[in-house]
């Protein structure tokens, strides 16, 4: 990948986006906002992210339904304008690290009416009464993990819940995941990985936010361990690498990411994109890739709660050199 990027994988200039320099955070992924930064490929950017509730849920006695105000949810840093990026290119974003910031307890998870994987929602509309609202505030420490209660701590496994580029003319709620990235809630978008995002608008206009300290598959109740962070990424640009849906690469796997409803459509998108990637870049015949993934493909459910569900389909790199 390094070889394909304009910066050849080399770290370039360093930038910080503080709460102050960000100013207004954004609630849509779109081309209508003024860039907060303009950078060359290679730039390393550290951003002070808010949690998905913009820090408004401060205590366990708060009522999310009274405080949270759609569509002003899931605040995003950015957009970052990447010099030279044009429609048909690809942004490669290396995730360097994610560090919690702010006073303890930093982490928050909730149950809120009309949202979540095991309740009726605005889309799966029912007449049943909602669950009671619950807020849980948690201590999060990179060394000791997420303190669930006196006996349980979960490992600190942070990732970026929402990241993507701007659509060409659309401006879509940061609650939505789609072809440009967005609210995928996929735990693989973690330090050590590089995510490839298709470019649709001049400068790509990278947004990110919504970091999670820990999350299971599906983000079941809709709120992972939400927490504010300093998140550092290195941005490269790959000219002319054109594909439809976000892709991801780690040391040992390649992954394609699909978002849709019903969930099988997200799975179909992800796997078809993986077939296409194996065919385009690794010498596979499409049907051979289809049959091999039947035996060796891996699916990760990112979320089963957002306006579109997100799944990642991946394959071990050891199987890629041998088509």
């Amino acid at each position: 990948m390094a070889a394909r990027g304009e910066a050849k994988g080399r770290a370039g200039e360093r930038y910080e986006i503080t709460e102050a320099s960000q100013g207004k955070y954004h609630y849509v992924y779109g081309p209508y906002a003024t860039p907060v930064l303009r950078v060359d490929p290679g730039a390393v950017v550290s951003a002070e992210t808010h949690d998905a509730m913009e820090g408004q849920i401060k205590s366990e006695s708060d009522k999310p339904s009274e405080i949270l105000n759609f569509p002003f949810l899931n605040p995003q840093n950015g957009p970052i304008f990447v010099n030279g990026a044009e429609k048909g290119d690809c942004l490669a974003v290396y995730i360097h690290d994610i560090v919690p910031r702010g006073p303890q307890p930093i982490g928050t998870t909730c149950i809120m009416p009309e949202f979540g994987g095991l309740v009726g929602t605005g889309d799966t509309a029912i007449l049943n009464a909602p669950l009671p609202e619950i807020v849980k505030k948690l201590h999060v420490d990179p060394a000791t993990g997420v303190r669930w209660n006196e006996r349980i701590s979960l490992p600190y496994q942070p990732f970026i819940g929402t990241i993507g580029t701007a659509p060409e003319i659309e401006a879509i709620s940061s609650l939505v995941p789609d072809y440009y990235g967005g609210n995928m809630d996929l735990p693989d978008v973690a330090p050590g990985a590089v995510i490839y995002l298709p470019v649709h608008a001049p400068g790509a206009l990278l947004y990110l936010g919504d970091c999670h300290a820990a999350q299971g598959d599906g983000e079941l109740c809709g709120f992972a361990i939400e927490h504010p962070t300093v998140t550092t990424v290195q941005i490269d640009l790959i000219k002319g690498w054109n594909f439809r849906w976000p892709r991801l690469e780690t040391h040992d796997r390649i992954m394609t990411i699909g978002s849709g409803r019903p969930m099988e459509d997200a799975a179909r998108i992800a796997y078809r994109e993986l077939v296409r990637w194996m065919a385009a870049d690794y010498g596979y015949d499409e049907l051979e890739a289809y049959m091999l993934l039947t035996q060796a493909g891996h699916l990760r459910v990112g979320n089963m709660v957002d306006p579109k569900y997100t799944l990642g389909a991946s394959v071990d790199k050891t199987l890629l050199g041998a088509a």
Copy 2:
């Protein structure tokens, strides 16, 4: 309804939006475009609409996949700023009439790869080869109907395929139907009906376009009889009538409109909204309404091809006065 509107149902000033006065058509529903008109409640507006392909499919030998260029599809007239409209209000749009315009053949339907109800698509992603592309151009005449071939003519039953207000901060492709209206493709949005659209942005910002000369339930192949028209609507404003999804009223029925995936979610939304309407305005207990709709509710499938499917749930008004 007339009684609730600011204009009391009376027709006010008349306006025309010609191709020339419209200038650039719009491909998103959003608050970022400059209004083409500012009107008071009661305004009667006639708009020169394009067909969904902006007239670019000119002959049966054209290839839609080579001509159509996402996201610049489904051009919309507007936005129309309605004085006094604020978030939490409702726009009542009476559909006066729809008249074809332009040289014959006016009507167009197509089969295009990755789009349609009986093919794989970008969402229902498959590896099968696409169907052949087909374009069919048809004569459309309000008096004699849509001439399908020498033996078959379909009645001219025009309606507005895409109509809605702007979301508050989102700008969403005019191919999408959602809570603000948009590409619902629901044949009930026809002359004689009034559609109620929730207001999210100042001035409501009404868009419309995509008129169909005829369409079956589901808009199966994705292209109804698309045709350019002069479409005339009368716009009223109902202050403080606040609900989530578009509603519609005809002489004898009330209808609620839901859009979502999978299709059962669109049906759930539509029926829940109808239950709520019956409870709020017609004296029904919610569970009584739920049980009565089980026996007397009606579902219309608008589209089964768009990014979200659209269904309308309705009930006869004779059942409403007697809760």
Copy 3:
């Protein structure tokens, strides 16, 4: 159709299936039960059907969840062995009439936990508390209709909720609709229509039951106006007419019936079968049929509550002679 049937559409011998002669009713569609009748094509059979709760819900103070006992639900008459019927044939069942029987109030509808279109269910599994249980008993009279309350009566529009043949080796709950028919809850299966059912087992093994006095699209809460009846059908056999899903014909329309989840799959099945029927029997090219149905096809939602949802796709016969 008459011309294709073994009995040439002529009524043959008459039979009655009383509660006594039926004895044990059946709760599965399968080949393992002993036929209650053996008839030749042309037979006219009157069956005493139970309501879907087998008459166990006797008063409005009953609790369905305490009385109803899965899988012993939706009792069916039959099976009727049709002489000469073999796999690959088709049973044509003319629906003559449906008459309520038993003491008033005859009709019953309910709200029951984990069942219905606007609640969580065993499939759409959620944690929300269920709605309260409600039973409503109603007077049903063919002349005056279904008396909902003092001010509302619904017209008596009876149909057969559940009808089908036996699968070849499967025995499937009579709550399920599928390729052999079953619990389709489609209001078109009414007097005057003929339903065509594919034959999978020797003798076809026709079952029927679950007649509704009235029902809206989708059977929203899961219980239409359930009532016991005497239902009379005339059975013919069409040799070698082989297709996958049930079909239906009325004076002016042909319809194909699909059942599946998600709902769009039921719609796809229904419309694809209609395309195939138009191609096989009416001279249409498949893609021409696909495009014409886009403009003139009709969808009816039978149920949105059963283990599979059922939709009927239909087209007016006036469009069939002119391919």
Copy 4:
């Protein structure tokens, strides 16, 4: 678990089911077949399983669509009658081992029309032409793995694709997964695991078959590495442990298994059952379990190709003792 079983986890009498002693294999899960064995809790049974195509696909030039004959697919060993098992009990089946049998090449995978995750199917009915049929025969060796081609071998990671008890009165195709088990295609059903199956019919009537030598998540093209085996399981009976959907336990995790369409319904079922298990047996409050699984739950997609999709939801046992 051992403590709860009638046999206290002790291995009892040993049995073999050979092809000869099995005689006719079964294609439905139901109560209508004569048991091939009657055993006491503790019995260890080794069964000669066929591959899912009953060995009929013998060479890479075979055409599956010409050879395979629905509903005579996915042959099952059994049923095994477990003495003392009654409705409301639970069968605990320890999977001891799975060993390939028969002449090489033993393994088979295929592409067949109207079946698979990235094609149109009988349910997701489309008009696109099918993919070409492909058969791939492979050498499978427990030591050296599955030889995909000269450069790739996949590890031999066998599991039981189809296993379950009989429904009470239904007899359902062995292609289907549902509340009684069946064709779940879940790679966790592997040596070392114990699967818990609810009992619906007297004697439980255990069936199994369809062993896979390797499979990725989702069984994408519909055919894993299908192979005939000798599969050995130990059967115990837990009286009065009553739940709705299959469960599974390994050394370090507990898992619940849901099957349904759309895929989110399978996920909902699996996670709700896991919430319920944690509440019933591990001291969790339901909402606390819901929130914890949001952070620490795991989802495995078994299949995305069968008549119902199957997902397993699981949690690490280290989190269970600390509610």
